[in-house]
């Protein structure tokens, strides 16, 4: 008896202590009437590109909290994915190699000029012949067309999203890339877009926000995309021994404005036009190492002594170059804070750090995260809690996300399945739900384009708006239905699946049975009853028998066609309808 009491006492203590630490708390889904399976499905909907068959049960059995922490750690092995990516030649290259191998338009013209295919005055000529000549020369010299680089960029995104075991890392890579958008459409930055994602975005997606901001600010892709690479102080004339790039002789405010409006403070974050100009001045001299071998600046730089440059305040960090000779040295005031004269390289770092830590930024970033992961109109209390965590953890993204998932607002029934998938999310979730094999990822990119999301090509620094109304309209919706049909009937080249295998080769008893079974496989833990009920009259028409026999006499060929293709055809039809249905568009 006494012994039993001691045991109980100990248990009570364990329980109390267990609940005292936040992370040891269970995720509060029960209070809101979710079963563990439903809650797991909800986590997979929001923190992965969609559940694979059987994955809901796997997450339940390992524990939802453990699954989340595993995704935060993002260190699961990825052999399958790596095997798929192994064929791509550009993914491991550095910027220097890329720039000198995959030529952009300007480099091609310089090459063609050097080879005498064109001279400066007659670029026109016969474009077809010119292109062929250029192609031959590029092949001879070991250059590659830049389209190959873009193709691998697109393909790796599709494959990583579909097959990476570290799903949350990929979801966040998509999110932060879009937040710090750069675009292949801009010539000056197109060669750097992949390394931008690989080196500046992906390693930082769950780290500190300010590290992410700095990594993007110093990457050649961003420096070129928003023109900071060519923004120089008007005050300091470039020295004779460092030839400034042609046409680069003044201040450009583009990055300074967007870094405040889009990346940190938000448009209502409390800055003025004067702040924009002054931030631009603070970032003068922030540019890209000259990488192209045929560019005169590179030759000059290579001849200079690094120690000497360092003494003069130059900073070289990978492909980032701080040119002290182009920096505005005057004292500055930004957002009412004073920056003394001669701040040099550190001044830019201090300005960006101040922006990253600003209260407006905290609120702006937390709202954007909640909009992506919870609802298009997240509640004020949720934002408040996320902001608190942001501020107490020095902007730790992982901690902010953890607060979000453990907040009751995440589990309100009113926000369940209310987010509409972006086209990319929709396409990848179809791949995952059907265990599809993607051999030609670019085909899926083409479908995303049709549905309104030509990723990596979005021109504006805003990135794609994260609102359902941006994705759902008449034309785009029709293409979603068409995608479902083409996908499931295996009409998309290089995308294969075995639909019967998903149900262990049990043949459905009827079309309604097929709808029921496959709805539950493709969209686990949702209520499909109403939809199926709605389709019953359509399929089980009273006069159906009569129509069938009529059809048989009228159209023998049609009947034969049906019988030949049999169940397989029916199944792809049913799956196509499910993927194109409204329920599949939601997450």
């Amino acid at each position: 008896m006494k012994f039993a009491k001691v045991i109980l006492f100990c248990l009570a203590i364990t329980a109390t202590f267990g609940f005292s630490s936040l992370v040891d708390d269970p995720i509060p889904y029960k209070k809101f009437g979710y079963t563990p399976q439903q809650a797991a499905a909800r986590l997979l909907d929001r923190f992965s590109f969609g559940a694979k068959p059987g994955q809901v049960e796997a997450v339940v059995s390992m524990g939802l909290e453990n699954w989340l922490e595993q995704q935060f750690a993002a260190n699961l092995p990825n052999e399958g994915l790596n095997k798929r990516l192994a064929a791509f030649k550009s993914l491991s290259l550095n910027n220097d190699t890329i720039v000198n191998r995959y030529l952009n338009a300007g480099q091609v013209i310089r090459l063609a000029t050097r080879k005498g295919i064109i001279n400066r005055d007659s670029i026109k000529g016969d474009p077809k012949e010119y292109r062929e000549q250029v192609r031959v020369i590029m092949e001879q010299e070991g250059y590659k067309p830049i389209l190959e680089l873009h193709r691998e960029l697109v393909n790796q995104k599709v494959l990583s999203a579909a097959y990476s075991n570290n799903q949350l890392q990929e979801v966040l890579t998509d999110f932060w890339f879009n937040h710090f958008n750069v675009s292949v459409t801009k010539n000056q930055c197109q060669q750097y877009v992949y390394t931008y994602e690989r080196d500046a975005i992906r390693p930082n997606v769950m780290g500190k926000f300010k590290d992410l901001l700095l990594a993007t600010a110093q990457h050649p892709a961003m420096l070129e995309y928003l023109d900071n690479a060519s923004s120089v102080s008007i005050k300091n004339q470039p020295r004779a021994n460092m030839a400034a790039p042609r046409n680069a002789r003044g201040l450009n405010e583009n990055y300074a404005r967007e870094v405040m409006e889009l990346h940190t403070l938000g448009v209502d974050g409390g800055y003025t036009q004067a702040d924009v100009t002054t931030v631009a001045k603070a970032l003068t001299g922030w540019t890209v190492m000259p990488l192209a071998k045929d560019a005169p600046a590179r030759n000059l730089l290579e001849r200079l002594n690094p120690a000497q440059l360092e003494r003069r305040g130059f900073v070289m960090k990978g492909d980032f170059l701080f040119r002290a000779d182009q920096h505005d040295n005057e004292a500055k005031t930004i957002l009412n804070k004073n920056f003394p004269a001669n701040g040099g390289y550190q001044e830019g770092i201090d300005v960006l750090t101040m922006l990253a830590e600003h209260p407006s930024t905290t609120k702006f970033i937390c709202t954007k995260l909640a909009t992506r992961f919870v609802s298009d109109t997240p509640s004020a209390s949720l934002i408040k809690n996320m902001v608190k965590t942001f501020q107490s953890t020095d902007g730790d993204i992982k901690a902010v996300l953890r607060t979000m998932v453990y907040d009751p607002a995440f589990w309100k029934k009113s926000v369940s399945h209310e987010k509409v998938k972006s086209p990319f999310e929709m396409v990848i979730s179809a791949v995952r739900a059907t265990n599809a094999q993607v051999i030609q990822p670019f085909q899926l990119f083409n479908w995303c384009t049709k549905m309104g999301q030509r990723f990596y090509y979005y021109q504006a620094p805003t990135g794609f708006p994260d609102r359902a109304s941006n994705w759902i309209n008449t034309g785009a919706l029709l293409n979603r239905m068409n995608f479902g049909l083409a996908f499931a009937s295996q009409k998309i080249p290089g995308v294969r699946m075995d639909l019967a295998a998903l149900n262990n080769y049990h043949e459905p008893e009827s079309a309604i049975d097929a709808l029921t079974v496959y709805s539950n496989i493709l969209l686990p833990q949702r209520d499909h009853a109403a939809n199926i009920k709605r389709l019953i009259p359509l399929v089980n028409d009273d006069a159906v028998e009569e129509k069938i026999s009529k059809a048989a006499t009228v159209d023998k060929a049609a009947e034969q066609m049906i019988l030949d293709k049999g169940t397989k055809n029916m199944l792809s039809q049913v799956v196509g309808i499910i993927i194109g249905s409204p329920e599949f568009q939601r997450k």
């Binding site: 209310e418 034309g475 399929v539 055809n569």
Partner: protein, 420 residues
């Protein structure tokens, strides 16, 4: 085997066969019966809006060349009408049209093209996103306006509810068309069909299933978009689009804008109730090496001008009913920047083309470009509110007079730019 047979009889056959007799979804029957374009809508006036995203340099498009301050501020970008081969078209002794507007210039000469200059928003934001948002919502100081001005225009006209009443040839619906009135966004009209090739019975059932499911969904957005999609499907004859031939001699540039305007022309000629059409033109954010006679800006202008001119010529027979209006979120700095381009500024200009237009005139109240006269000592000040231009066109061409609904909280006056 027995389960398979059962399945084939009761389920699959039903699934595939419903369409054969009597079970064909109503809309497919209607479209099939129509055979020819149905034309159930009376001929309405059509307003075609083109948004130049990125902020067009109005001072280079339509240059106040007589102001020597401009020449001082942009020594490498300034052009004038006496400047050799690539000279500006002299419009009125004060303003000159960029030479790449060659294809539109004749319409100015025959007084069907008007230009409004010094146009912009009272909100001095120089953010693309914000300025576009304000211009498209039509409420320059309120972000919370959920509808776009063109959507409200459609509502005020109050005509038949054709699903093609408001169409944007874009991948996504533009802010201008957000709102409670149905609006369709599509980048390629030829894609506007359910692609169920092969078995026609299966196709019918698939379409029917989708229609049922979208009607059922509790998500209002998906529900509404679904309904609109199926209504639109009933009306559009995809073959007419694929085989479309413009008026003899008209060649649309093979560019995004050229293709958009061509599709708008198709819709207009189909008589399916189009009243407001929207297209976009990109690449105007010329921070870098903008060029003069040649270069990025000139190339963009040529495409812009040639696309509109092709559209207008293709509209032969419809021109009395159509007006084209262009817009851009703001203009660019008066002075050139350090990288051969121009930065975000304030006022720019708008082009209005139509038979009702009192054209051949630059509507403007632009003053001196001396630095101290400029907004923030750098930008062309806004002397004409964009709402004056938009309402001026909408009031006369679309016969809408309720400007306090079209542009809430605005008390300005519409610009008298159209006849009547």
């Amino acid at each position: 085997m027995s389960s398979r047979r059962a399945f084939m009889r009761s389920g699959a056959m039903a699934l595939f066969a419903t369409g054969i007799a009597g079970g064909i979804p109503a809309f497919i029957t209607r479209v099939a019966a129509a055979g020819m374009p149905p034309a159930p809508y009376k001929k309405n006036k059509v307003l075609v809006c083109i948004f130049q995203r990125g902020a067009m340099d109005g001072l280079m498009a339509v240059t106040p060349f007589s102001d020597m301050e401009l020449k001082k501020a942009r020594p490498n970008l300034f052009m004038d009408p006496t400047n050799g081969a690539g000279k500006l078209f002299d419009l009125d002794g004060q303003f000159g049209l960029h030479p790449s507007f060659a294809s539109l210039q004749p319409f100015f000469a025959d007084k069907r093209l008007a230009i409004a200059h010094g146009v912009g928003s009272p909100n001095n934001t120089r953010s693309h996103f914000d300025a576009q948002d304000y211009m498209e919502s039509g409420t320059p100081f309120s972000k919370s306006t959920s509808s776009g001005w063109l959507n409200r225009a459609v509502g005020l006209m109050g005509h038949d509810a054709s699903p093609f009443r408001a169409v944007s040839i874009t991948g996504a619906l533009p802010r201008s068309l957000y709102g409670s009135q149905e609006a369709l966004a599509i980048s390629n009209l030829a894609d506007f069909a359910l692609q169920t090739k092969g078995n026609p019975m299966a196709a019918n059932l698939t379409a029917g299933s989708f229609e049922e499911l979208y009607e059922q969904t509790s998500n209002r957005l998906l529900n509404r978009a679904g309904k609109e999609s199926f209504e639109a499907l009933k009306m559009l004859n995809v073959n007419d689009i694929k085989n479309y031939q413009p008026v003899a001699g008209v060649v649309y540039p093979n560019s995004p804008l050229g293709n958009s305007l061509k599709q708008i022309a198709v819709l207009i000629k189909m008589n399916i109730g189009l009243e407001v059409a929207f297209a976009e033109s990109g690449g105007w954010d010329t921070h870098f090496n903008q060029g003069t006679l040649n270069g990025v800006f000139a190339r963009n202008v040529r495409d812009f001008s040639d696309s509109i001119a092709a559209f207008w010529n293709d509209m032969s027979g419809y021109q009395d009913d159509v007006t084209v209006m262009t817009m851009t979120e703001f203009g660019r700095t008066v002075a050139q920047n350090g990288t051969g381009g121009t930065d975000h500024g304030r006022a720019s200009c708008s082009f209005i083309l139509g038979n009702d237009v009192q054209g051949g005139k630059v509507y403007q109240q632009i003053g001196s470009l001396a630095k101290e006269q400029l907004e923030d000592q750098r930008d062309l000040p806004v002397t004409t509110d964009f709402r004056s231009v938009f309402s001026g066109v909408a009031n006369k061409h679309l016969n809408i007079n309720n400007n306090n609904v079209l542009f809430p909280k605005w008390e300005g006056k519409a610009l008298e730019i159209l006849k009547g």
